[in-house]
Subunit: 197 residues, 2 copies
């Protein structure tokens, strides 16, 4: 019996070689040497197949990040590790398998925005979790954790948003990230005395 | 006598209607009803013409921002006004004249990266100027003004970088910017007492 995972593995291979437009149920069945019907039982349209490929790709990003968000380490350590891991995953994928990365970007662009937004929402909630833990243990001082999680996620776009992939080869990238992240840490760390005005 | 400005105005009109690939010296001469030679005296290649169009476009962004960077208002006020104006210029252009905006993006993508980077550098230096003024008058407390200017510029990419233009219709955009900017202000404002560790 063919599993959904096996079909998605084959689909990924077709995607890498031929791009999203040429990744159909029929192409994937051909790559697996099975009848179309066998694949149709799992995915009844090209759109459903593409959605499943995209969802699995997103889960490969969010799953290791979820592990970090729940670690017993200090919230400050966890926050930095979370963002460094997000960058590493994205930059590694872009660097290591550029054809697949380009295909995934095209797929995501044509995927329902609901799925993309839900993916972003999961990541922001993980950041929010770390921020809340930091407020609870006194490391952070934050008025609005959900809004601050969004702000941190947006503020670091240059370093993890696939639209900026062509800047990831910049010699100053790590230095730029470190400086920005330290600045953001200053804004949320406990111990800040506000100016009188 | 045809001025460079008049040629560039005509070129912009050709660009808006036909895109960069179809904006050549010959096309612009035709739009102006003059001989090719007349335009060639100003721009001897399509690349030179495109570079001049891009440079003028960039100057229309940096020139009003330079005025703000040198205003006599307080550095905190100026910093916010500078970023709000940058966003307004970019978002206005994208919204108001989407064909021209799309053409400009294509042009910038194919322009020498040296010109693009110089444009970014000018903007970052304007921010640095405001930050230095704020350190001098005691509003800000910043270790490294050049690095902090870069960080502020990168941190706000979502709100002014043309790659994110398709997010500028988001209903929460202004709210998101305000939250992020307030966070960044906290990180540079004077009066911060660091935690003991």
């Amino acid at each position: 019996m063919l599993t959904t995972e096996q079909i998605l593995d084959a689909a990924e291979d077709v995607l890498r070689r031929f791009g999203p437009r040429k990744t159909t149920v029929v192409d994937v069945a051909r790559a697996l040497g099975v009848s179309h019907g066998t694949v149709y039982r799992h995915f009844d349209t090209k759109a459903a197949l593409h959605e499943a490929i995209t969802t699995r790709w997103f889960e490969r990003v969010t799953s290791p990040l979820a592990t970090i968000a729940q670690k017993p380490s200090s919230p400050s350590e966890r926050l930095r590790e979370w963002f460094e891991t997000l960058m590493a995953i994205k930059q590694h994928k872009a660097d290591d398998d550029p054809e697949l990365f380009a295909s995934y970007l095209l797929l995501a662009k044509n995927t329902s925005q609901k799925i993309v937004l839900a993916h972003v929402e999961i990541m922001i909630q993980q950041v929010e979790q770390i921020l809340s833990d930091g407020c609870a243990d006194g490391s952070f001082e934050i008025d609005n954790c959900p809004a601050t999680a969004r702000s941190l996620f947006f503020a670091t776009f240059r370093f993890h948003h696939p639209l900026h992939a062509n800047e990831w080869g910049d010699a100053h990238l790590k230095e730029d990230f470190d400086h920005l992240f330290t600045l953001l840490e200053r804004a949320i760390q406990k111990g800040i005395a506000y100016p009188a005005d």
